[in-house]
């Protein structure tokens, strides 16, 4: 297992030397390799094209979208109203309030998830309590439970206490359902931290709580940030629970609002507005991804590779 990526405590000493040239004659062009290279590049080009198509179409009229899929947008720019689709989607689908709801709900849920998971993951890995690994496994099983299977009892009981159709109710569910993955990811991080600093803190007379707060948490900062980002992305994209637990337009999250908008807008052939709506949901995540791609990828890899 690789050591998990941490904040740059110490840089790797030196890059390994470039790999030596292969023996002459061994670098034959094999058909498999040619095929593979072609597939890889075609795939990559396709993904980039999809992104271009999404962005350019969000500025197009429906006719342009379907008859000129490769060209740059023209008509709305000629008409002097290039952001027409975005304005339409923002107003018609109520994406303004949905945006605020999503940012607040998803932000709060992701932060609280990490705040609740970090002590639990620490306790499960580093306090030397018997049975902790069994308990870790018990929580990890939760990752395999499809949300659909808990939706009915949750909905019925949340309705009884007035938390169905309610953003706070959804917040609780988001936190609880994000816990298994987050605890699992963070146990991996805490397990990999060195013992020495913890022991040194104990010898210096720091209480276990203080050791956790001022030694272990800062050491695990990379893991905590990764967990936070992964939860932000996952919850930002979550739709099923939002469909079940949010009924009022004013409470809608972005993906929930987009889901409702889809039926109405495709009925009216408002394709430009729809694609703009999709872009409004996707672009913030794309920006986050471009800025933090390395951390997101290593984080997910770490979660899966253990």
């Amino acid at each position: 297992m690789t050591a998990p990526p941490r904040e740059p405590v110490a840089k790797p000493v030196r890059r390994p030397p470039r790999k030596p040239k292969p023996a002459p004659g061994s670098r034959r062009l094999s058909p498999l390799k040619v095929l593979g290279t072609v597939v890889v590049w075609a795939f990559t080009a396709f993904n980039l094209f999809v992104l271009y198509w999404l962005l350019s179409s969000s500025f197009k009229t429906p006719v342009e979208i379907f008859t000129q899929p490769f060209q740059l947008p023209r008509q709305w720019f000629v008409a002097g109203d290039p952001f027409r689709n975005y304005v339409y989607a923002w107003n018609q689908a109520g994406l303004g309030s949905a945006f605020v709801n999503t940012v607040l709900l998803v932000g709060a849920a992701a932060i609280v998830t990490v705040v609740v998971s970090a002590p639990a993951a620490y306790a499960l890995t580093r306090l030397g309590v018997r049975g902790a690994s069994g308990m870790t496994g018990f929580v990890a099983i939760g990752m395999g439970v499809p949300f659909q299977t808990v939706i009915i009892p949750l909905f019925v009981n949340m309705a009884k206490i007035g938390l169905a159709n309610n953003l706070f109710g959804l917040f609780l569910i988001y936190v609880a359902l994000s816990l298994p993955f987050t605890v699992f990811l963070l146990t991996g991080f805490f397990r990999s931290l060195p013992d020495e600093m913890e022991e040194a803190a104990a010898i210096d007379g720091a209480s276990p709580l203080r050791t956790f707060v001022s030694i272990m948490l800062p050491l695990a900062r990379g893991g905590l940030i990764t967990a936070l980002i992964l939860n932000l992305i996952g919850l930002w994209n979550e739709t099923l629970l939002a469909i079940v637990f949010l009924q009022e337009n004013a409470d809608f999250t972005l993906s929930r609002a987009l889901f409702t908008f889809y039926g109405a807008a495709s009925y009216q052939s408002e394709y430009g507005g729809l694609i703009a709506g999709v872009a409004i949901v996707v672009l913030p995540m794309l920006v986050l991804y471009v800025v933090l791609a390395r951390r997101i990828i290593t984080g997910l890899t770490l979660g899966a590779g253990k």
Binding site: G36, V40, F66, M135, I152, N157, T239, I243, V244
Partner: protein
């Protein structure tokens, strides 16, 4: 536990150490309790409740659950909609899974030696951060069939002189979604497998290269054995994720706001339609029975996969 022994034989340093251990353990429950409480209340207990409710007939709000034994399961098993859901879910898990992993393996053979490999990986990973609802809508435009206003896929088909295809017809949509899922999720599995490949000491590949091994031989004899454990984990992840597929199909196969025709259903759609769908009265009992079938299926598949993948770990 050694604390008592240490109390009997006090040693200056070890004594305080033992005391520290006790104080550490006292921290355990306060630290674990909040997470465990939420986990139990929102995930474990509801799962148990679902199992119990699956033995009742219950039309949802206003009605009360009545014990009915295995009737829900028998009725569910006999219904067309469940059989379609079950079949489609298995198609996503197996056909989609095999396709995705073949793609991912092909990529691991090439990406290791390729320039710009990291950038390619980041680009391929991108669809994984897009909301499935947004992905479904986007693919709706790609696969759209409407003479004169063809979606991208049919636009391309027609521009090379082929006839347009009805990708999103209920009979075809499962295959269109399978292809879409393979495209969208392969980036994730490529990333995981490549991270494992990166850990393999390069001299093994250099050795193989000096011996004149082909890419396939290198894959078969170096990459696969040394990443086997990660492949197993990736397989489990795939199974769990493929079984949950809901939004993508819901949006692609249907008009979007109510359930699609039932030959395009997945188990997730079955549960949703029977509990919150707008067609007919809710049937919480049947929905719970299907939910239990989902849990059973994921358990069986994961255990089976782990058994199949069991090998001695290779240390390197």
């Amino acid at each position: 536990m050694t604390t008592t022994a240490e109390a009997v034989v006090p040693r200056p340093r070890r004594g305080t150490h033992g005391q520290h251990e006790v104080r550490k353990r006292r921290l355990f429950w306060p630290f674990v309790a909040p997470a465990f409480a939420l986990y139990l209340i929102f995930l474990v207990l509801p799962t148990i409740a679902t199992v119990v409710l699956s033995f009742t007939s219950w039309a949802g709000a206003g009605d009360s659950p009545e014990f009915s034994g295995f009737t829900q399961y028998a009725r569910m098993w006999a219904s067309d909609s469940f059989q379609y859901s079950f079949r489609n879910t298995l198609i996503y898990v197996f056909v989609g899974g095999i396709g995705t992993f073949v793609l991912a393996f092909l990529f691991t053979m090439v990406l290791r030696e390729m320039r710009g490999g990291k950038l390619v990986r980041a680009i391929l990973f991108f669809p994984n951060i897009v909301a499935p609802v947004a992905l479904g809508m986007f693919l709706g435009f790609v696969f759209k069939y409407q003479p004169g206003k063809q979606g991208l896929a049919n636009f391309l088909l027609e521009s090379v002189g082929l006839t347009a295809a009805k990708f999103l017809d209920p009979a075809n949509v499962t295959w269109a979604v399978t292809a879409a899922i393979m495209w969208a999720s392969s980036g994730f599995y490529i990333t995981i497998l490549m991270a494992a490949v990166d850990r393999i000491p390069p001299y093994l590949y250099e050795d193989a290269e000096l011996a004149g091994a082909s890419p396939w031989q290198k894959f078969r004899n170096v990459t696969l054995p040394l990443t086997w454990d990660v492949v197993g984990v990736a397989g489990v992840l795939w199974t769990i994720n493929a079984l949950k597929i809901f939004e993508l199909v819901f949006v692609l196969a249907g008009p979007g706001t109510y359930s699609p025709p039932n030959n395009a259903w997945t188990l997730g759609i079955y549960v949703f339609d029977r509990s919150f769908g707008s067609n007919g009265t809710p049937d919480f009992g049947a929905a719970c029975a299907c939910a239990v079938a989902m849990i059973a299926l994921v358990t069986v598949l994961v255990l089976l996969l782990r058994r199949l993948m069991r090998r001695d770990a290779i240390q390197f």
